[in-house]
């Protein structure tokens, strides 16, 4: 086993092979193919093993990054995965979808020289390596404490809480509204970016740890939070931000106008691309416009493209302000998505059968920076233009679903329909109830949801231990 030797700085960030754009735009297979062992070891060897690693400070779950990278360099993958999993229950997911460029990798000491370590890719490598092994180890679970915790929502926040608490010997039940767990990882993020087999594997791991999983159960409908309180010592709410926004412009209810959630759910959760073998239909359109500029918009556009449509992104600012990850924007561009910047839809026009056939939009220009720090778009008068389409996907944002707050009067809510919870502990205004993830912050990221879950789990554990 070769120790990484003190040698001159290697700034050559190893590329990860991808399916070529011409090929991948016709299939739903994963775009990025992952490192080979050799590439991973090479990449890991570049890490300087900083004494005070900046990278760790920017990882929301504080993974021992130099630690796991060192193991990769030493080809000791078993130790590597152990180090990772100490802090991150879902490395195969985060390695793929974390916005690393603005987290761990952004502050790697090598970033200034343009050679920051590909932390996310290495994380993914280890997780995939583990999955390729015959057996995935199950940690020893301490004897049951007899304390019961209910987790509402099976997204990354809820899964993290469940994983942390079950490993501490508490009894955990996850209640999930849909028939599958994973939250956005399952119904939202497409197969070509995050294969569902990975999410299933992680959920299965939790099940093997002894977590009770109850799908098809809507808290607020099938049972209220109040009623759960009678049976469980503590409750964690990780219900996400699943309520889709529309723009409230004329024609939005025409056939062929979808919310991003509907479009993606048909595809991912219901596997519409396998219709009619799978029974949920999805339309094959010819000209699709996706309104929005975030990760969600990119996912919708790249899905529509794979279903054979000429696809446009309609975004009201310019390329620089796109909130999506740069990597995803570049992928979309390579695949041939057309970007219409500085455009704002004002009306959808339908045909005689009620199907959308045109978008009317305004051209915009950029003004002063707004509250978000991005330059705000200003409509240019008289610039109305029409564009032919046969489908529109509205990907302008989501907020938390009101089902739980509406049936839990004691919960203090924020202005945006979010549950108010303490940032450090996840405690809500109600006794024995914690919350975290998108339901608290509004739509954010997988790793932030997991980070919130971790903090809440810690606080719940403290509380459970304090019970005599």
């Amino acid at each position: 086993m070769a120790e990484p030797q003190k040698k001159k700085l290697d700034l050559n960030r190893r590329e990860m092979p991808k399916q070529p754009p011409e090929v991948r735009k016709h299939n739903f297979g994963e775009v990025a193919l992952g490192y080979s062992i050799e590439n991973a070891v090479r990449e890991a060897e570049r890490c300087l093993q900083c004494k005070k690693p900046l990278c760790v400070s920017k990882c929301p779950v504080e993974i021992d990054i130099p630690g796991f990278i060192k193991s990769v360099a030493q080809r000791d993958f078993t130790t590597g995965i152990k180090v990772l999993k100490e802090k991150n229950l879902l490395p195969a997911v985060c390695g793929r979808v974390c916005p690393q460029e603005e987290q761990c990798e952004e502050v790697c000491v090598l970033v200034k020289k343009g050679g920051q370590i590909a932390i996310g890719r290495l994380e993914r490598f280890l997780a995939d390596w583990e999955a390729s092994q015959e057996t995935v180890g199950i940690p020893e679970i301490p004897p049951s404490t007899g304390r019961k915790v209910a987790v509402v929502g099976g997204g990354p926040a809820g899964l993290t809480v469940a994983g942390d608490l079950i490993k501490l010997g508490h009894q955990v039940t996850i209640f999930e509204a849909l028939h599958k767990l994973g939250g956005v990882l399952t119904y939202g993020i497409p197969e070509f970016r995050l294969p569902k087999a990975i999410v299933n594997r992680e959920v299965d791991y939790l099940r093997r740890l002894g977590t009770e999983i109850v799908p098809d159960f809507v808290i607020g409908k099938t049972r209220t939070i109040e009623s759960l309180l009678k049976e469980y010592n503590a409750i964690f709410i990780g219900a996400g931000a699943g309520l889709p926004w529309f723009m409230n412009i004329p024609g939005e209810n025409l056939n062929g106008v979808y919310s991003a959630n509907e479009y993606l759910t048909r595809m991912n959760l219901m596997k519409g691309f396998l219709f009619p073998e799978y029974r949920t239909p999805i339309k094959e359109h010819k000209q699709v416009a996706v309104v929005g500029g975030g990760n969600v918009a990119m996912d919708c556009a790249r899905t529509a493209l794979r279903l054979g449509a000429e696809t446009r992104i309609i975004y009201r600012r310019s390329r620089e302000e796109l909130p999506a990850r740069l990597e995803e924007v570049e992928n979309a561009e390579e695949e041939g998505i057309i970007f219409e910047f500085l455009t704002l839809p004002i009306r959808y026009i339908g045909d005689e059968n009620g199907w959308v056939k045109e978008i009317e939009y305004l051209k915009m220009k950029l003004g002063e920076p707004d509250a978000s720090g991005r330059r705000s778009p200003i409509p240019i008068e008289g610039s109305q233009t029409k564009l032919s389409v046969d489908a529109v996907v509205c990907a302008i944002g989501n907020s938390p679903n009101p089902l739980i707050p509406a049936t839990t009067p004691g919960l203090t809510m924020g202005k945006k329909g979010n549950i108010v919870a303490d940032e450090q502990t996840g405690k809500t205004s109600m006794d024995r109830i914690w919350a975290g993830g998108d339901v608290v912050t509004g739509a954010a990221t997988v790793i932030l949801a997991m980070g919130a879950g971790r903090k809440a789990a810690r606080s719940i554990h403290e509380y459970l231990c304090s019970l005599s």
Binding site: T222, P244, N255, N261, M270, G354
Partner: protein, 280 residues
């Protein structure tokens, strides 16, 4: 997994399913629905809860076979399990002391109007139940409905039972027998609800309908179920399914329900249901 306790065709093309779903049975109130999936690769479809037994932990649904999924559902034998039964979803129908309430049901709605009529009766209302079908042999649950109604009215397209015609005649019938109606509640196919609403509009009688747009999750997540009521967009699964019929944009609802006709024809052809391929 949810066990199907009973599944039988009670009249041509309508199946009565009794399903073990204790969590749903213990919470359900009249006017709510569940979302079902028949198998792992199945579609999620909404169906109203027509009756329940809280002690046994079962719910009953009446299902009209019209397409792929309802066709598959008709085929599930008693004793088998289906993977998803989630609910009770939607808001319960408002039950109060209204006076005289006219409950109208057609096709699957003959079943789902039953718990509503029952609750209204228990509240002390005078309940008149009107059921509509193409022909007399398509009526079911008449005995159950009679028990919870002060008066029952049959309307058939072919005149084989009760009044001849369709539900559009209902207020004319009411007038002829000098009934004063304080509220109307309609369950069933979209056309039936629209016709009933059109009929009551000139009389200004509050008319509640249980809308049935396409749905996926039933929790307010996808927005496919949006309907225009008044001039607002509502999500039928969480804001409804009951709405004031006079405020509903019926044209839009009928149009939106047609979104997948072409694909559904494919699904229907490949339906695992062999014996019920004839459309009603």
């Amino acid at each position: 997994m949810f066990r199907v306790i009973e599944n039988r065709m009670i009249v041509p093309n309508i199946h009565l399913l009794e399903i073990e779903a204790p969590a749903v049975a213990s919470e359900v109130r009249p006017g709510q629905f569940v979302i079902l999936r028949v198998n792992e690769d199945g579609e999620r479809i909404p169906v109203s809860i027509a009756d329940w037994d809280r002690e046994k932990g079962t719910i009953m649904t009446t299902i009209l076979t019209i397409g792929g999924t309802t066709g598959d559902l008709a085929k599930v034998p008693a004793g088998a399990d289906i993977p998803t039964v989630v609910g009770p979803l939607g808001n319960a129908t408002a039950i109060d002391m209204f006076g005289t309430v006219l409950c109208i049901g057609g096709c699957y709605g003959i079943g789902s109007i039953y718990p509503i009529a029952r609750a209204l009766k228990e509240k002390g209302n005078r309940v008149i139940t009107a059921i509509e079908a193409r022909s007399s042999y398509l009526f079911y649950w008449e005995d159950k409905l009679e028990k919870v109604s002060d008066r029952i009215i049959h309307i058939t397209r072919d005149g084989t039972k009760g009044f001849r015609g369709h539900v559009g005649r209902i207020l004319e019938i009411m007038k002829a027998s000098s009934e004063t109606i304080d509220r109307i509640i309609i369950n069933g196919c979209t056309f039936l609800m629209k016709r009933g609403t059109d009929a009551s509009r000139p009389f200004g009688i509050k008319t509640i309908v249980s809308l049935n747009p396409i749905m996926i999750d039933g929790t307010g997540m996808c927005g496919v179920c949006r309907v225009t009521v008044g001039s607002n967009t509502k999500f039928a699964c969480v804001d409804g399914p009951d709405f004031d019929g006079h405020q509903v944009d019926w044209q839009e609802l009928l149009q939106r329900r047609k979104t997948y006709v072409r694909e559904e024809a494919v699904a229907f052809r490949t339906s695992r249901c062999e014996e019920h391929r004839t459309k009603p």
